[in-house]
């Protein structure tokens, strides 16, 4: 059977190997009455020691594969396994005539519920650890086999519903060549791990577990999210070539990690990373990011049962700022609404959510939520080079209002004796055409602009980027878009302000030469694109591209502009 599955490519590269299914065992438990509690207790104890032996082995593997830090989580798992309170709760039920499996399940539910109810992100995550440990113990009691990826001794591609921490820690990079999960998105645990291990990963496939059998030959393309089942010889050949090309390029790019981004005529531009969580920081560093051009703060608000506290936010901002160690760090205030929603906060049903109450508009409607974030940011400002950015600004009044709220919070902090940096910057995301047209007026009041191309294009073209029938209008190199961008850059420079870009386009090899010629100061992109971009800059002359700009701005179509770029670079 010939088949292709697609998901979201979250870690670049190509893997060719056989499938290894990571099964989620059936751990259904029934309540039975027992008449020999001593026997039941003995079963529980022996299951515990078996699980302990297994966890010890996993801990050793994790230390070997990922270092002592990552192994620490399994020391915590062992403490949970040997927790006397857990054991006492289970023993109490067994002594009342309840079978060990049911007793354990009940105890596990009680403890996980307790941790899940805590108003602290860290503690809620511990609930997952408890579940992980008790599942292992339950499997031992039930005599059910749990897939044990640490025993893998040939090259495989892992197929799973999702990856649990204990499963991922057992993955041996030597043999695990990639993975495919049915659940997850760009910022899920498995995606971040894939990028950290630098193995291709595709998530959100929905049907991989249902359609891929153990041992099926697979090709996984983590760049575009394709998974090919039982590939033909021809497909194998073409992907082998692609794979070695990818690896060769990667090797060549390594020398750019420690270098600044300099054009062939000696001009410096800043190439930064877009990050979505503190967990992306190692990746930004590994790729030599010169700063963070976009820290999306939405992740702090997602996958939770309530708004993050000021303290939680402060911790995250401080972590990012101090780990960037003085390098510029642009933090975008909350941008929800549109296609991003929160479970604990109902955003209004709208006919056109992208034209509705989203981002800064929503923040104005809920000033308490917004002020909490502003306070956390201001407090963190002393830990690095902070640049605060407001999203979806259309009018000057909006910018003034947001900045006014920020300054009010700063006053309050001063009054409370809390220190705030006096050198942080306040800028805006430039993504609404109205703002691009009057960029000269904004430029007098902002410290910087960062151009968000995805939205700027969709709003300029009046074409929903989720709607495939109008996707032909998504044209980053269209004369209208380039003229708007150029207008913004020139207006900002006239006032001595800098301009960055944090959309996909900033890392696009076809757009980079033109943007450089226009004088864009900062290019922010996904960390895995940084080195490629830096290599491209090294081959471009800024003066040369500057001289082409008047001619490019007179071209009539995207096609002509792309042709020109290809011919000259």
């Amino acid at each position: 059977m010939k088949q292709t599955i697609t998901g979201i490519g979250v870690s670049d590269g190509i893997a060719i190997a056989k499938a290894y299914r990571l099964e989620t065992p059936d751990l259904t438990v029934e309540k039975t009455t027992i008449d020999k509690p001593e026997q039941e207790l003995a079963r529980f104890e022996s299951a515990k020691s078996e699980a302990a032996v297994e966890l010890e082995a996993i801990r050793a593997k994790a230390a070997e594969n990922f270092g002592a830090d990552k192994a620490e989580i399994f020391s915590a798992h062992l403490l949970v396994l040997n927790d006397p309170e857990l054991a006492n709760t289970v023993k109490g039920s067994i002594e009342q005539g309840i079978n060990a499996e049911y007793a354990l399940q009940q105890a596990a539910d009680t403890f996980t519920a307790m941790f899940e109810a805590m108003d602290n992100e860290y503690m809620r995550e511990r609930a997952a650890d408890i579940r992980d440990v008790t599942k292992r113990l339950l499997a031992k009691l039930l005599g059910v086999h749990v897939s044990d990826p640490s025993t893998i001794d040939e090259e495989v591609i892992i197929i799973a519903d999702d990856l649990t921490p204990s499963a991922t820690a057992q993955l041996n990079k030597q043999f695990v060549k990639g993975f495919v999960t049915d659940i997850g998105g760009r910022t899920s645990h498995s995606a971040i791990l894939g990028r950290m291990l630098e193995i291709p990963a595709v998530v959100g496939t929905k049907t991989a577990m249902a359609s891929i059998e153990q041992g099926t030959s697979l090709i996984v393309d983590g760049t575009d999210g394709t998974v090919l089942l039982e590939p033909t010889g021809e497909e194998l050949n073409s992907y082998e070539t692609k794979k070695s090309q990818f690896e060769q390029d990667k090797e060549l790019l390594k020398r750019f990690v420690t270098e600044a981004t300099i054009t062939s005529d000696g001009h410096h531009v800043e190439v930064g990373a877009n990050i979505a969580s503190t967990e992306d920081l190692p990746l930004a560093d590994k790729n030599g990011a010169e700063g963070v051009g976009l820290f999306r703060t939405e992740f702090l608000y997602m996958g939770k049962s309530d708004f993050p506290t000021e303290e939680e936010q402060f911790d995250a901002y401080k972590t990012v700022l101090s780990s960037m160690n003085g390098r510029p760090t642009v933090v975008r205030t909350l941008d929800i609404g549109g296609d991003k929603e929160l479970s604990y906060f109902s955003t209004p049903e709208e006919m056109n959510p992208f034209l509705g109450e989203r981002a800064i508009r929503l923040c104005f409607e809920h000033p308490e939520m917004f002020r909490t974030q502003l306070r956390a940011l201001l407090r963190a400002s002393v830990h690095g080079n902070l640049k605060i950015m407001f999203p979806m600004i259309a009018t000057l009044e909006e910018f003034r209002r947001a900045k006014g709220m920020l300054l009010e919070e700063q006053e309050k902090l001063h009054a409370e004796g809390i220190e705030v940096s006096d050198s942080y910057e306040v800028g805006m995301m430039l993504e609404i055409p109205a703002a691009a047209v009057i960029a000269d007026l904004f430029a007098k009041e902002v410290d910087f602009f960062s151009i968000g191309t995805n939205d700027l294009i969709q709003y300029t073209m009046a074409a929903d980027r989720m709607n495939e029938t109008v996707s032909y209008l998504y044209q980053p190199n269209h004369p209208s878009i380039l003229r708007l961008i150029n207008n913004v850059i020139q207006a900002a420079h006239k006032e001595g302000k800098w301009v960055g870009m944090c959309g996909e386009v900033a890392g696009d090899p076809l757009s980079i030469p033109v943007l450089l010629g226009m004088g864009l100061d900062e290019f922010s992109m996904s960390p895995s694109s940084i080195l490629k971009a830096r290599a491209q800059f090294a081959s471009l002359s800024k003066a040369e591209w500057e001289s082409y700009i008047p001619e490019i701005l007179q071209m009539e179509t995207s096609e002509k502009i792309i042709e020109f770029v290809k011919a000259h670079s």
Partner: protein, 88 residues
């Protein structure tokens, strides 16, 4: 019975690493060791019991050991608290 009072100074409170270290340190002792915070008491050998108390930085806690090796247990707690900068 031996007891000692501490102010938690670790910035993460008694979560994660500091908590694991204390639990691992007292587990081998025969004595019963408990921790009391805001009038709630938990077994210091139970990681879930201790983490479940949600002890933040700055909290006042009392550690009590009772049993044959109570003095040694408290001494161990004291040395971990100080050497790992968990509390004072």
């Amino acid at each position: 019975m031996e007891k000692k009072t501490y102010t938690i100074t670790s910035s993460e409170g008694l979560h994660a690493r500091p908590c694991s270290m204390l639990v691992s340190a007292v587990t081998p002792f025969q004595s019963e060791v408990t921790i009391t915070y805001k009038e709630r008491t938990a077994n210091l050998k139970s990681i879930m019991g201790v983490m479940g108390m949600g002890i933040e930085s700055g909290a006042q806690v009392e550690i009590v050991a009772e049993g044959a090796d109570e003095a040694e247990a408290i001494a161990k707690v004291d040395s971990i608290m100080k050497s790992e900068s968990i509390g004072e």
